[in-house]
């Protein structure tokens, strides 16, 4: 029992500080009656979550159906494009420039443009998420694949290794730590992109739900929506981190 405590000491600290904060929040609002328009008690938020669980989860699932495919496609395409292009200087450089350009377009702007072309349906959101996730993944993978130790270079040349061998036996395993890291961070980006893009309209999703509720001053539902997003995000992120640890057991950090 003590050993469990020791290894997860910091995790427990994080979780308990969060819980403590929520408890203090509740107590504070019970003592000082702040206007309901400004702050909601956690207990009320929880009650709302339970009461409106059906519609909240339905909308959340809709958004999740935008997030996960988009994240997956974006990451996969990013890695694939980097693998296809890393040997060809001109192609990579051109792609990198394009990605810097597209990345410079603020998300809202990109949403508006693509929304104008495709309409604001689910596919548009998936496309947006894929685009936003694609570029950091692509750039990170590309830079990993093009950086190789002089020592490794010499050894591989002395074995007359073919580029295919070099890619699969050395470059890809070596780039796994950074790659999985950026894919993990992209989970957050994907969530953010999906919810934000819903603000421009759509056929469902938790972002639109929050937008409509906020307008009606139904702040509890906004908070409940935020809670759902936070829960999903935590699960998503830590699942990917768990998978990362399995895939990259040699990583020390």
């Amino acid at each position: 029992m003590k050993r469990v405590f020791k290894t997860y000491k910091y995790v427990l600290l994080s979780v308990s500080s969060l819980i403590l904060f929520i408890i203090l929040w509740e107590i504070f609002l019970n003592i000082f009656h702040v206007s309901r328009i400004v702050l909601i008690k956690p207990s009320e938020i929880l009650a709302t979550c339970i009461r409106d669980f059906d519609i909240l989860s339905k909308e959340m699932l809709y958004t999740v159906s935008e997030i996960i495919p988009g994240w997956f496609i974006g990451s996969l395409m990013g890695i694939l494009c980097a693998v296809i292009m890393y040997r060809n200087e001109k192609l990579s450089k051109g792609f990198v420039t394009t990605s810097v350009l597209i990345n410079a377009i603020p998300l809202i702007a990109l949403t508006a443009i693509i929304g104008g072309i495709m309409g604001t349906n689910r596919d548009q959101k998936i496309l947006l998420v894929s685009l936003i996730v694609f570029f950091p993944v692509f750039i990170t993978t590309l830079s990993q694949l093009t950086s190789i130790d002089q020592g490794h270079k010499d050894l591989l040349l002395s074995y007359s290794a073919k580029p295919k061998d070099i890619l699969f036996k050395v470059l890809l395993p070596k780039s796994l730590p950074a790659l999985t890291n950026i894919v993990k961070v992209s989970c957050i980006t994907a969530i953010f992109t999906a919810v934000t893009s819903e603000f421009f309209g759509g056929y469902g999703g938790i972002g639109i739900f929050i937008l409509s509720k906020k307008g009606l001053y139904n702040l509890e539902l906004v908070w409940a929506g935020i809670f759902f997003i936070a829960v999903f995000g935590t699960i998503f992120y830590f699942t990917v981190e768990f998978l990362q640890k399995k895939l990259v057991p040699w990583q020390e950090s």
């Binding site: 591989l156 074995y159 007359s160 040699w250």
Partner: protein, 261 residues
């Protein structure tokens, strides 16, 4: 076809020419290394040791480097000998792949060269026995000391049975005791496998301890200053306190001093 000259170098010169720089790295290098012998190269910094090493091993040198003259490894050009898997390299840093185990690292060249699975397994277990690494098969490089990592990298170099082993200051990062241990190991391996070993080092004592012949390079001009034949018996641990041993060290030190002027 057996060639008594494992390495034959004739009138080798190398030049860095480009970017406005015009630098003679090597000038008129001539020496031979006979098959099955253990030869060391020693010299002051900047005398072109690494360029010479790269030229013999068939590794690409800098774009601005132009070489003239003749290098023959086993009667072939170095690149050809490398392609024919006759050269094994051990570099200063072990450069093991951190995601592979010890056996995984040792079989890397075998996988790349397309050996069958069965022969790979056999070869790896032979190597583990040769290097006294049995029991360490599943260890990861991060779990090994520097000396052990270098052992693994020597095993990797020997995996495809090259005739020639080129070593570039492989034990430079080890402490005195471990370095001596590794020196004894490499002599063991040499005696058992009867390979030709060309060993670049910074340490005079190590050169005398290990080799039959020591080539002393100099700079300005970057040529061979002297070649000293070490006429001592193996294992050198027996004679390392003899006056003859120290005489050799003194002689080489004097030559090295001259070479550094």
């Amino acid at each position: 076809m057996e060639n008594s000259k494992a390495i034959h170098i004739d009138s080798l010169s190398a030049l860095f020419d480009g970017n406005g720089k015009h630098l003679k790295v090597l000038e008129n290098i001539n020496f031979t290394v006979s098959s099955g012998s253990f030869v060391s190269i020693i010299g002051p910094s900047g005398c072109g040791k690494s360029t010479l090493f790269r030229l013999i091993s068939g590794l690409p040198t800098k774009d601005t480097c132009k070489a003239e003259g003749k290098i023959r490894v086993n009667g072939k050009k170095p690149e050809t000998a490398s392609k024919d898997r006759e050269i094994g390299l051990v570099l200063q840093k072990p450069t093991l792949l951190e995601w592979r185990t010890v056996s995984g690292n040792m079989q890397l060249p075998l996988e790349i060269m397309g050996y069958s699975k069965g022969s790979i397994e056999k070869k790896v277990s032979d190597l583990l026995k040769l290097l006294d690494l049995q029991g360490y098969e599943k260890y990861r490089p991060s779990e090994l000391s520097g000396g052990m990592q270098q052992k693994v990298s020597i095993g990797r170099a020997l995996a495809y049975n090259p005739d020639l082993l080129l070593m570039d200051e492989p034990f430079a990062a080890l402490d005195e005791i471990n370095r001596r241990k590794m020196n004894n190991e490499i002599i063991n391996i040499w005696k058992k496998t009867k390979k030709t070993i060309l060993f670049v080092t910074h340490s005079i004592e190590e050169a005398v301890y290990l080799s039959q012949k020591v080539i002393i390079l100099r700079n300005k001009p970057s040529t061979i200053h002297k070649i000293v034949n070490i006429d001592l018996e193996y294992p050198r641990s027996k004679v390392q306190n003899s006056s003859k041993y120290f005489k050799y060290i003194k002689e080489i030190r004097e030559y090295l001093n001259e070479a550094s002027i």
